[in-house]
């Protein structure tokens, strides 16, 4: 499994784990999972990047899409355990302006 959902820490929070390489295939799975959680009523999504080493352009685009969907659901997105290299990329492309990094 590239992505998996951890048991919800609280009723409104869901944590989704990204795989080691965030590309089109794995990105679309994350997007699907996020949509599902938002539809289920979760209003705080934690995307866990602890296993993620590389995020490519398609991965970035999909994450921006996830942020847009969350905004439309009045939900909050949090990126957790992002490695330094990826944080630098997120900063560079303005992704971090829309999400909290923890």
């Amino acid at each position: 499994m590239i992505t998996e959902t951890a048991p919800a820490p609280s009723a409104e929070v869901a944590e989704i784990f990204a795989g080691d390489y965030l590309n089109k295939l794995t990105g679309e799975r994350i997007e699907f999972e996020c949509r599902r959680k938002l539809d289920d009523g979760f209003r705080r999504l934690i995307l866990n990047f602890s296993k993620t080493e590389i995020v490519n352009s398609i991965g970035i685009s999909i994450l921006l899409g996830v942020i847009d969907i969350a905004n439309r659901h009045n939900a909050e997105i949090v990126f957790s355990d992002v490695n330094e290299h990826t944080v630098e990329l997120f900063d560079l492309l303005g992704v971090t302006k829309h999400v909290a990094i923890q």
């Binding site: 490519n56 352009s57 970035i60 560079l92 302006k97 829309h98």
Partner: protein
């Protein structure tokens, strides 16, 4: 130079390389465009956007892929002649939406663009033709687009433009190919209608053999099909059968319709019809090359005793051998002015007796095999029943007779050359001297 632009450049190059791969692989076109939009968005960090294809006939942009543009964003947008001219003049240059309000296109769709915070519009121009466009919303960073961003977008836009142009070209080729196929089908249909009309005209001349040419066409078709020929070749065999007697159009009606055995002079006149038929058919460009040869040689026999040229077995065009068998079979199974139709078992015996002398063994075998398959119910097309009548095909013991005949017939006939030699009055030496090739 700081670290940041280097990193950004490497990231953008990665996206450009992936885009190059994407447009050159064999993914579906829709998927390629969707991925291309992801790559542009991810290369620069763009929140929303879309890619459209331009129809130069309808003068409209049709969205192929959209990201975060909302359900109310128009999926089709019209361009005016002025818009087209301006976009072509600008080439593949990103246009700032906020500064292009003078163009009708931006005036008409301004509210949609503003509502979704679209900032850049990039016409995709390939070989002086608009093939599509890219719509891009605000950057995730909230910063304005830099010239560096625009250069990357243009580089990626060129790939996407070429992908759309290629798709358009393929669609055009497919459309023309469909048109050609349709035209070909129409021509083929016209050709077959003409051939059938000719066959009917030939048969009209001979009141006793009404429908003969059509039946010979159908029997020839059956033989070709039983030999395993392809659809076109089988059709060719049918046409050869339909037209085999076209030369009879020039023979006097009283000779053709004579209710008695015709004399030598009349026979000589009648026997010219294969050569005359060849002369009629030769100048016509037939889709099937052997049609004139079938007309000319359909009265030749393997033993060299046929006419007009007395050819031997391998000298006779194969198609003429097929038509000869079909022609003879129809002659035996229909009433003639001087001869009643022969019973089925007698016809089968006749075929067997003349196989190797008049008929090629493999053709007789193919023909009888087809008939047997129908009698055994293995072939439900009822081809023979329709041509010969139900009663004729249900003659008692016919299946057994055919099965016995097929078992008796050798696959090749040693009689061929011996019979030919005998007709020349020679022995074994004469056989070897025969002009077989």
């Amino acid at each position: 130079m700081s670290m940041q632009p280097d990193r950004k450049l490497i990231h953008a190059f990665g996206a450009l390389a992936e885009l190059g791969q994407e447009v050159s692989n064999k993914n579906s076109f829709q998927e390629t465009i969707r991925t291309s939009l992801h790559l542009i968005s991810g290369a620069i960090g763009i929140m929303r956007g879309g890619i459209a294809r331009y129809s130069r006939f309808a003068h409209e942009l049709n969205m192929l892929a959209v990201r975060a543009l909302g359900d109310d964003f128009p999926l089709t947008m019209n361009l005016t002649g002025e818009d087209e001219r301006q976009f072509l003049a600008a080439g593949m240059t990103p246009i700032e939406v906020s500064q292009a309000q003078v163009l009708p296109f931006f005036q008409v769709y301004n509210s949609s663009f503003e509502g979704r915070r679209l900032e850049l519009f990039v016409p995709l121009v390939v070989r002086d033709e608009i093939v599509g466009s890219i719509f891009l919303g605000e950057k995730a960073s909230g910063e304005p687009y830099t010239s560096y961003d625009k250069d990357i977008i243009c580089a990626m836009g060129q790939h996407i433009g070429v992908a759309i142009a290629q798709r358009n070209l393929m669609a055009e080729i497919e459309r023309r190919s469909d048109e050609n196929r349709q035209l070909f089908e129409e021509m083929r249909s016209t050709y077959h209608d003409t051939v059938r009309a000719f066959a009917a005209a030939i048969d009209c001349k001979d009141k006793y053999t009404e429908g003969h040419s059509v039946r010979v066409g159908k029997f020839s078709e059956i033989i070709a099909a039983e030999l395993g020929w392809g659809v076109e070749e089988t059709e060719g065999a049918a046409v050869a059968g339909y037209l085999h007697d076209v030369g009879k159009l020039t023979v006097e009606r009283k000779i053709i319709n004579a209710p008695y055995r015709i004399n030598a002079k009349e026979s000589s006149e009648l026997n010219k019809h294969p050569s005359v038929g060849f002369e009629i058919l030769q100048p016509i460009h037939h889709p099937y090359t052997d049609v004139p040869l079938a007309a000319k040689y359909h009265h030749e026999r393997l033993d060299g005793r046929g006419y007009p040229d007395g050819l031997y077995d391998r000298e006779i065009p194969y198609i003429a051998k097929i038509v000869n068998l079909a022609d003879s079979f129809d002659a035996m199974t229909t009433d003639r002015p001087y001869k009643a139709r022969r019973p089925a078992y007698a016809v089968i015996e006749d075929l067997q007796r003349n196989t190797g002398k008049q008929f090629s063994p493999e053709l007789t075998t193919a023909f009888l095999t087809g008939m047997l398959r129908e009698l055994k119910g293995e072939d439900r097309t009822k081809r023979f029943r329709r041509l010969l009548g139900r009663d004729y095909m249900e003659a008692e013991g016919l299946s057994e007779k055919i099965r016995y005949t097929l078992n008796e017939m050798a696959p090749t006939s040693p009689m061929t050359y011996v019979a030919a030699a005998a007709s020349l009055g020679g022995g074994e030496e004469a056989v070897l001297q025969l002009p077989i090739h």
